[in-house]
């Protein structure tokens, strides 16, 4: 589904060259729950951003379902993100002035292939699935961190994306709330055959992933089920 070939991202800070990604090659299959792990500065988030079309690689190629993403224009990338991707960020990133329902509906409302009725129905369904239907008219500030992250997950899932990206979604949550959120990710992955790419640095999150790649200094140092398979 996703083919990444020799992906590099080099930042220049004055005269210093920082290789955030240094030749990453990777395939991700449909339905996989992939965990990207590694220490701070290893390139986890950079890789996620490259895959999620939030940043441009210095070199290398990302192909999704046979489409080379490097040739897309700015607008095409935006539409690709809208129609094919879902995102969950570590700080929830909900629009503070919109209610839970409006936040969840927002990406669906922009799709040309959805009617207003469908948007409402899809948003309602996904909110039921994450158990926050009764809070749909509340503003984000009226919810706990765990609830906000569940709303963020609902927003990412409302368009039934091909790939769900999550950037340390439990970084701001306690263990109990983290487990609730991760259980939801697992449920979505198993119940809907949803491909998920998640960045995490918590070792105990491993149990949720089908496959884990570990990065260090922008390179993959291991790739396998729960770290069993060495790269």
């Amino acid at each position: 589904m996703i083919e990444i070939t020799d992906l590099r991202k080099i930042y220049r800070m004055g005269n210093v060259e920082v290789r955030a990604l240094d030749g990453v090659t990777l395939d991700i299959e449909k339905g996989e729950f992939l965990g990207i792990m590694g220490p701070s500065g290893s390139g986890k988030t950079t890789l996620l951003h490259m895959l999620g079309l939030l940043d441009i690689p210095t070199s290398g190629k990302i192909v999704i379902d046979g489409m080379d993403l490097s040739h897309l224009s700015d607008y095409e990338k935006t539409m690709f993100r809208l129609y094919k991707y879902g995102y969950v960020f570590q700080d929830y990133a909900l629009v503070p002035d919109l209610t839970v329902m409006e936040n969840v509906s927002l990406p669906a409302m922009l799709r040309k292939d959805r009617t207003e009725e469908q948007c409402r129905k899809d948003s309602f369904e996904i909110l039921q699935k994450i158990g926050l239907c009764d809070r749909r008219d509340h503003l984000p500030r009226e919810l706990s961190g765990g609830q906000q992250q569940r709303v963020s997950l609902a927003r990412a899932m409302v368009n039934k994306p091909d790939i769900l990206f999550a950037d340390e979604p439990c970084a701001n949550l306690d263990t109990e709330n983290s487990r609730v959120v991760l259980d939801l990710f697992r449920e979505i992955n198993e119940g809907m055959q949803q491909t998920i790419v998640m960045v995490s640095h918590e070792d105990w999150h491993k149990e949720y992933f089908h496959r884990i790649i570990r990065l260090r200094d922008g390179k993959i140092i291991s790739d396998g089920t729960n770290g069993a398979k060495s790269h």
Partner: protein, 406 residues
């Protein structure tokens, strides 16, 4: 940019205003409203002054068409025949002559130099509304002799000491009192004050009126001459039409014929031009203030929301939606501000119609037309849109990574 995108942009804008900082929204609307009021108040005031002066000139000095002596002549002669001719013309409601003579008024210890105007009361009633401005007593009748009407400032107030008076007066003369008038030709006569009027137009308020018959006694002969003749047009007839008629009937041979517009361009034209310059400066300043304020408001909003904007772009919201979100916010703020401005302006207009600005020379109110409101609204709205869209455009073009790191 489709309908769906615009709908989402509008929703984001509406929610941001509804659920964002209420005080910031209210203050922004207030500033726009005040700028609108400032834009329209001064020009409307000047327009009101211009209109007021124009109306007073027409009402009390020139009427629609003024006939004055030809260059080099002191009077319009052959008055009776000229009046008969004018009054018989199509479109003429009435022609009224005036003849003035300098005089000294004596009342108790007070002495005052005054211009006495002789009128034909019936004719004058048709061209001038002075008879509606009586504050005491009544207007002159056609056959009155020995009776005079005078302006209120000239009549004075008995409760005000002479040294405290704004202008010299007769110290509180009342209707029924007797006044001694010494004309420039030595003729002296005691008149009974029949009425006191107040028009707000200084030259008339500082004059006195007697009947034509009375003035003939002063002159000691039949008066077949006048200082000027004012001509009132019938409704539906233009001043220019009357002027052309007068000229074609040969009245131009006996006097100089000028419409009110001709006279205005000579008298208050320069004043109105000066007002127009002040109006333009006021308009430009108001537009600049509004533009800068809205630019700052939207810039601060966008700077505070940079991360939010980055996230929105990341989840697939097109930059045009983000730009129009802020654009719609400024449009809503602009419209609400303009509505507030219109309300404030209209309240001021109503207040000033009841309490006009009154000076010894003229009185003025706010003169506002729907066209003024529309033009100023459009100008302010355009300024607001530009001020909002510039920062919105800039922030919407920002790279996702840079925005998300903000």
């Amino acid at each position: 940019m489709g309908q769906k995108e615009l709908k989402v942009a509008f929703l984001l804008a509406l929610r941001s205003l509804q659920r964002g900082s209420r005080s910031s929204t209210i203050l922004t609307i207030l500033i726009i409203g005040m700028c609108f009021t400032n834009m329209i108040f001064l020009p409307s005031m000047f327009s009101g002054i211009g209109q007021g002066i124009t109306k007073q000139l027409v009402d009390y000095e020139t009427s629609n068409v003024l006939i004055t002596p030809k260059s080099g002549d002191q009077y319009i002669t052959d008055l009776d025949a000229t009046l008969d001719l004018i009054n018989g013309m199509p479109g003429v409601q009435r022609a009224s002559p005036q003849y003035s003579k300098g005089a000294i008024f004596k009342y108790r210890q007070r002495v005052l130099g005054v211009s006495v105007r002789a009128i034909s009361p019936m004719d004058e009633k048709e061209v001038s509304p002075v008879y509606t401005k009586m504050v005491a007593g009544s207007y002159l009748g056609e056959g009155d002799t020995g009776e005079i009407i005078i302006g209120k400032p000239m009549a004075g107030d008995a409760t005000v000491r002479q040294e405290d008076e704004f202008q010299p007066s007769l110290g509180g003369i009342r209707v029924g009192d007797s006044i001694t008038v010494e004309y420039g030709n030595g003729y002296t006569k005691d008149y009974r004050v029949k009425g006191i009027y107040y028009t707000g137009w200084s030259p008339v308020d500082n004059a006195a009126f007697v009947t034509w018959t009375d003035m003939e006694q002063v002159e000691g002969k039949s008066l077949d001459k006048a200082d000027y003749i004012t001509v009132k047009a019938k409704p539906g007839y233009t001043e220019q039409f009357i002027k052309n008629e007068l000229l074609s009937y040969g009245v131009g041979g006996n006097g100089k014929v000028q419409t009110m517009t001709d006279l205005l361009s000579k008298s208050v034209g320069k004043v109105l031009q000066s007002f127009a310059i002040i109006n333009m400066v006021s308009l430009i300043v108001s537009v600049i203030i509004t533009t800068v304020v809205l630019f700052i408001v939207i810039t601060i909003k966008t700077l505070n929301s940079r991360k939010q904007i980055g996230i929105l772009k990341a989840i697939g919201v097109d930059k045009a939606v983000i730009m129009h979100n802020y654009g719609f916010q400024v449009i809503i703020l602009g419209i609400l501000g303009i509505i507030l401005g219109i309300i404030i302006t209209l309240v001021l207009a109503v207040y000033m119609s009841v309490h006009p600005i009154v000076t010894p020379e003229w009185s003025a109110y706010l003169y506002i037309t729907p066209w003024d409101l529309l033009i100023n609204s459009v100008i302010l709205f355009c300024a607001a849109v530009v001020a909002g869209y510039v920062p919105a455009y800039q922030v919407s073009r920002e790279d996702i990574q840079t925005a998300m790191r903000a």
